[in-house]
């Protein structure tokens, strides 16, 4: 019968050696931890504060880990966000508060394990350390077809010989190096400019050959540096002594002393991909620009202590900035690091230059639009967060709400917090330094008042610098807190100690729920899915604890017992769908590694099992309930494959779409028809379970209702309309590719994300897939690297006396290797007082993205036409505000600030997008799926989806081409999306993010057809061509290089459709021609005229 909780099964068999058995059941945890935890008392904290993790045997559990037994209450409640650990101990059930100050005491299983791992491996360093790392990069074995950045780079960084950058590894994608005209990639990694590449060489000696676990505390640091740290040096206006010798000297002196173990810092990227936690700072990993932080020479002793942050020490390259072309010079830089005023005046002027949109026909830049650079001092800007991760709609924050209202532009942030990064600094430290009052993580934009105190940049509280933080493990110098990696990088990942855990980190658990009704079998999806799953079983992110399970359903629910010792999987059928229960407590979710044969067996036989099924009903609701019951003890990911409208049991839906319905009709069903799925999602969210929905449906399936299950549980939705294995091979390939990415991409479990901003600003609405737990905390049972989020903000109190404001997002998650990690992004932006400055800093893409999110909300809460009007009004209001308040002399025409010159175009693109278009009889599910995408996609892909890039590819030349790894990548200019730009004798590539179209004109040059497409003439181009043959010709090489370069820049695999005039896909191609007039929508020019009319009213 349905079990409330699984008997506490231990995972001990699955754990690596030396790891404490994790237990499932709440009761066991309680016992286990409380019994071990007695020993620690708050008073002991001082004593223990420098104790090294190694001292405690790995099996010992922590005192802190006083896991409260209130499992019955929703864990969410106990579950503290990053910000809550310290300031509200009495309320939180998590009662470890007295001990929490004692950071260094090793309290978690994890840190203990890691440090011991570091110790064990440190002796045999380069040869000994790299093989395990290599083997652990499961992702890196992915075939070249998967160009995901982090994974590719993983291989590179794990190989000692791959010096300086991972560039020797072609499949690795170098997403940030993509700036046209930039220097070759290798240089772009070194964009800290002033650090010459050779400087990174002496890195190796910086790392101690061994790290004994029981070192003296940092207090006993190198005698050479410490006294100097205490001497008050002159204000730091001296030029830097950029001498490698000095650096080495310090390094060796520190190394001889050796022993400070509190912080091990590893530059291993990616996060969560190591099979064994292995934070020992491997020199092989340090060769990229990531290492600039350490590679930078230390200051001469006299100058160490007064240099403010942002002073010369701060060299960390602004982590993989897109423009590799920038060569920053590092002047010696005085005290006033926050004087964010002067720089880039010329840019200012450019940004303000009014553009007459009516006259400028060619408004679209020939290259991809870049995020505007905030007008900060160069030194600060260099440290700022990568705009791909964190972006604000207004890079100049208006000082007051009144000013913001006047500008008529939305203020908000767009985040892509879990993006695959090619380089990510990871800090393992027993204390994570945070502001005591607002819990902000220390970041590059804090100010150090003196050696021992820092001032929070969000709440302006002055905090003490902990003793441990005084020591910089990178330069191995004592007394330079401002040079620690935490203060050098706007994007950083911490290994979280056990204060950040509510329960032992959960194992990765994957449950697949397949629809096997007659309809589902007809589509033949099961074959594809099972085969893809089989192929990628080894690539599922996880460790030895990974668990997997399967459920299938039609009008009944089938479970599969994968008990060890069974010769074949055993199917258990539960036909009572009114009151679903789990037929057996064990063996439905089994360890992936131990039962691999059985699982493979099941996957091979599953597609054949139901071929004769005549059951047409679908009991999705009960199946979800069953899946939830199965998963709730651990949390994890449920992947649901559904092919029709659920028809029986809880959550049954009725068709709501009338076939003749035009989308102009008033009553279009964008809201869910039942709250079953929402409630289900909330329950899942409470148990750290995320539901991902794959909808492969021919008919209407009410995605509006079904989608809720993913939306509130932080899952994702995939939709394959009219999927059929024979009739629609294009969709099959799409499913294969997307599923592969889905299965192998990184995943974070039991995550929460908190977004903080400087006092005075407040966040009021969130967009994306999650459940908002409190005013600034998002609950994300799963987090994946393809999810984007948006927030709207307002200026609550005016920001007088502030020159800059900061935003910080902190994502606390459990990696697939069972480590608790915190990924922190911090962004700093200037505050301005005049309207014209606000317009100068407007980021048109971010504004469009945020408006799209708001429009989705509006169409759900009000109507679609309301949302469309709101979009148009956003343009009209902002442009008329600009006209009336900023422009001094009234010119005829439609004037827009340079920064907003693309605003009308992008809004028009949004209006023509599937989510918001009217007139065409777009299917309801299509529309809702696009809305889901708008909400859940990161900005870059959303922009491509909204306004695709069009290139002419039949005459690619090497002129202005990029050169990456000996590959020449042509850079054709982006064309306007108008049929007028198409010529019959050309071939054009349209890059719409998740899909690419190559349109071949009727009179396209014979040369191109034969040399690139490999067919004799236009007529013989096959109808369903989705691949370019690899030919030996120069044209083919160029075209393929260009397309694969485009593909490498995104983690998923856009399919290329080659279309001719008579292709069925031509309609989708032409639909993206945004500047043209369609049956029901204005052309760009007409739209401008309409706006002009409204603005000049």
């Amino acid at each position: 019968m349905a079990q409330p909780a699984r008997p506490a099964a231990t995972y001990s068999g699955q754990n690596g050696a030396g790891q404490q058995p994790y237990s499932n059941g709440p009761v066991q945890n309680q016992l286990m931890h409380s019994s071990d935890g007695q020993g620690y008392s708050p008073s002991a904290s001082g004593l223990y504060s420098h104790q090294t993790p190694g001292k405690v045997p790995p099996h010992q559990s922590s005192g802190q880990y006083n896991y409260s037994g209130s499992q019955n209450a929703s864990p969410l409640n106990n579950y503290q966000g990053p910000g809550q650990t310290l300031n509200r101990p009495p309320v939180a059930p998590f009662s470890g508060s007295p001990v929490q100050q004692t950071g260094p005491v090793p309290q978690g299983l994890l840190p203990v394990l890691q440090n011991s791992a570091a110790v064990s491996s440190s002796g045999s360093f380069p040869p000994g350390a790299s093989p395990p790392v290599l083997s652990s990069w499961q992702y890196s074995q992915a075939p070249a077809g998967q160009p995901s950045g982090a994974h590719g780079m993983g291989t590179g960084s794990a190989q000692p010989p791959a010096s300086l950058s991972g560039n020797t590894n072609p499949p690795g994608s170098y997403q940030y190096a993509a700036s046209p005209g930039g220097p070759p990639l290798q240089n772009s990694y070194m964009n800290a400019g002033s650090v010459p590449p050779p400087v990174t060489q002496p890195l190796t000696p910086l790392h101690p050959p061994s790290r004994p676990p029981l070192g003296p505390p940092p207090l006993g640091g190198p005698p050479l540096t410490r006294p100097s740290a205490l001497t008050a040096g002159p204000p730091n206006t001296q030029p830097l002594l950029n001498s490698a010798a000095n650096q080495e000297g310090d390094a060796t002196s520190a190394a001889s002393d050796g022993s400070v173990v509190q912080n091990s810092y590893d530059a291993i990227e990616g996060g969560g991909l190591m099979a064994t936690p292995h934070p020992s700072p491997g020199p092989p990993n340090l060769k990229m620009n990531r290492s600039v932080g350490y590679s930078y020479p230390t200051l001469p002793p006299g100058y160490q202590n007064t240099s403010p942050p942002g002073a010369p020490g701060i060299q960390a390259s602004a982590l993989q900035y897109p423009d590799g072309s920038k060569h920053f010079h590092q002047p010696a830089f005085g005290t006033n690091h926050l004087a964010a005023s002067m720089g880039s005046l010329s840019l200012q002027q450019e940004g303000l230059r009014p553009v007459n949109l009516i006259q400028e026909r060619n408004i679209l830049p020939p290259t991809l639009l870049k995020a505007p650079v905030p007008n900060l001092h160069e030194e600060i800007q260099k440290l700022n967060c990568n705009p791909e991760l964190f972006r604000c709609t207004l890079t100049n924050i208006p000082q007051t709400q009144a000013l913001l209202n006047k500008a008529k532009l939305p203020l908000g942030l767009l985040l892509h917090p879990f993006k695959d990064l090619s380089q990510l600094p990871v800090v393992t430290s027993s204390t994570i330094v945070r502001c005591r009052s607002c819990r902000t993580y220390i970041n590059p934009f804090v100010s150090f008042l003196d050696q021992r105190r820092w001032k929070c940049n969000l709440c302006y509280r002055v905090n003490d610098v902990p003793e441990e933080f005084m020591y910089n493990p990178v330069t191995r110098v004592y007394g330079e807190p401002h040079k620690r990696p935490e203060v050098q990088n706007a994007t950083i990942e911490f290994m979280a100690p056990s204060e950040y855990m509510l329960r032992p980190p959960q194992p990765p658990v994957y449950l697949f729920v397949f629809d096997v009704s007659h309809n589902a079998i007809e589509t033949g999806y099961l074959n594809t899915v099972c085969q893809t799953l089989l192929d990628n079983l080894d690539l599922l992110p996880g460790n030895t604890r990974t668990k997997i399970g399967f459920i299938t359903f039609d009008s009944t629910i089938h479970f599969y017992s994968l008990q060890e010792g069974l010769s074949q999987p055993q199917m258990l059928v539960v036909s009572d769908i009114e009151d679903v229960f789990i037929p057996m407590p064990e063996n439905l979710l089994v360890n992936l590694n131990e039962n691999k044969e059985l699982i493979q067996d099941l996957l091979r036989s599953l597609p054949q099992m139901f071929t004769k099924s005549l059951e047409t009903q679908s009991a999705l609701g009960p199946a979800l309930q069953a899946a939830f019951k199965l998963m709730s003890p651990t949390g994890g990911r449920i992947s649901v494959f559904q092919t029709q409208l659920p028809s029986v049991g809880m959550g049954a839906l009725k068709p709501r779409e009338e076939p003749t319905q035009k989308s102009t009709a008033k009553d279009i069903h964008l809201t869910p028809s039942t709250d079953f799925y929402k409630k289900m999602a909330l329950d899942c969210s409470g148990q750290q379970v995320a539901v991902d929905l794959f909808l492969l449906s021919g008919q209407y399936s009410d995605l509006a209702s079904l989608g809720c299950v993913s939306r509130y549980s932080a899952g994702s939705v995939y939709y394959y309309p009219s999927y059929h294995h024979k009739h629609n091979p294009v969709q099959v390939e799409k499913l294969q590719k997307e599923l592969k990415r889905y299965l192998t991409r990184k995943i974070g479990f039991e995550a929460v994300m908190r977004i903080r901003c400087t006092k005075g600003l407040s966040i009021h609405t969130f967009h994306g897939n999650f459940f908002v737990r409190s005013t600034d905390l998002l609950s994300l049972p799963n987090v994946n690297p393809d999810a984007g989020y948006a927030v709207q903000m307002s200026v609550e109190e005016s920001l007088t006396d502030m020159q800059v404001v900061s935003f910080q997002s902190a994502l606390l998650y459990t990696s697939s290797k069972g480590e608790r990690r915190i990924r922190v992004h911090t962004m700093c932006l200037p505050v301005v007082t005049t309207l014209s400055d606000v317009y100068v800093g407007a980021d048109v893409q971010a504004i469009t993205g945020l408006l799209a999110n708001m429009a989705v909300d509006r169409s759900v809460s009000a109507t679609l036409s309301d949302a469309r009007d709101a979009l148009v009004n956003a343009v009209i209001d902002s442009l008329s505000a600009y006209r009336s308040s900023v422009l001094s002399l009234q010119q005829p025409g439609l004037m827009a600030p340079y920064s907003l010159r693309l605003f009308p175009l992008y809004v028009l693109a949004l209006l023509k997008q599937k989510a918001f278009q009217t007139g065409t009889s777009a299917r309801l599910d299509d529309r809702i799926f696009t809305m889901c995408q708008v909400k859940n996609q990161p900005l870059v892909y959303l922009m491509l989806m909204t306004h695709p890039s069009l290139y002419r590819v039949d005459n690619l030349t090497d002129e202005g081409a990029l050169n990456i790894n000996d590959r020449t990548i042509p850079q054709p200019p982006i064309l306007q999306l108008s049929v007028e730009k198409l010529s019959r004798d050309g071939a054009y590539l349209m890059d719409a993010g998740s899909v690419m179209f190559m349109w071949i004109g009727k009179n396209c040059g014979q040369n191109f057809i034969s040399q690139v497409l490999g067919v004799p003439n236009y007529g013989s181009i096959p109808q369903n061509m989705t691949q370019l043959p690899e030919l030996e010709t120069a044209e083919s090489v160029r075209t393929i290089a260009f397309i694969s370069w485009l593909r490498e820049q995104r983690p998923f695999f856009p399919i290329l459709y080659i279309i001719k005039d008579e292709s069925p896909l031509k309609a989708s191609f032409l639909q993206n021609m945004i500047e043209d007039r369609t049956e029901s929508a204005l052309s760009y020019y007409e739209f401008l005229l309409h706006i002009q009319q409204q603005v000049n009213k």
């Binding site: 409640n77 966000g81 005013t775």
Partner: protein
Amino acid sequence: MVFTFAAFCYMLSLVLCAALIFFAIWHIIAFDELQSDFKNPIDQRNPAHALVLPEYSIHSLFCIMFLCAQEWLTLGLNVPLLFYHFWRYFSCPADGSTLAYDPPAVMNADTLIYCRKEAWCKLAFYLLSFFYYLYCMIYTLVSS
């Protein structure tokens, strides 16, 4: 001193009004806890939602009673709130048996602020009406 139906109505509503005041305070506390992170909106829905329907029905009961007692002034004072409750009840989302305080939406700062304001306004209204009923009760008892 005659015990009329109107007097009975006022006595009953006096008692019930005390209950409504309690409900309003309960809501205020609940939203406050939400805003200050002490509570999870998923848990929140249970107590808060449990009280929404009783509140609405008690208030409707008032109106019916005053209608029957022909206390037009009192009824007039209560009718706006009655209509507001009706609007609230019928305009909630199609999927919402959960009424207004939908856990995913309630944390939206705008919604939360609105809910708090609503709760405070109701508290004020109920308090005032409590004394008004008290006065009316005595008045009817004495005058008749």
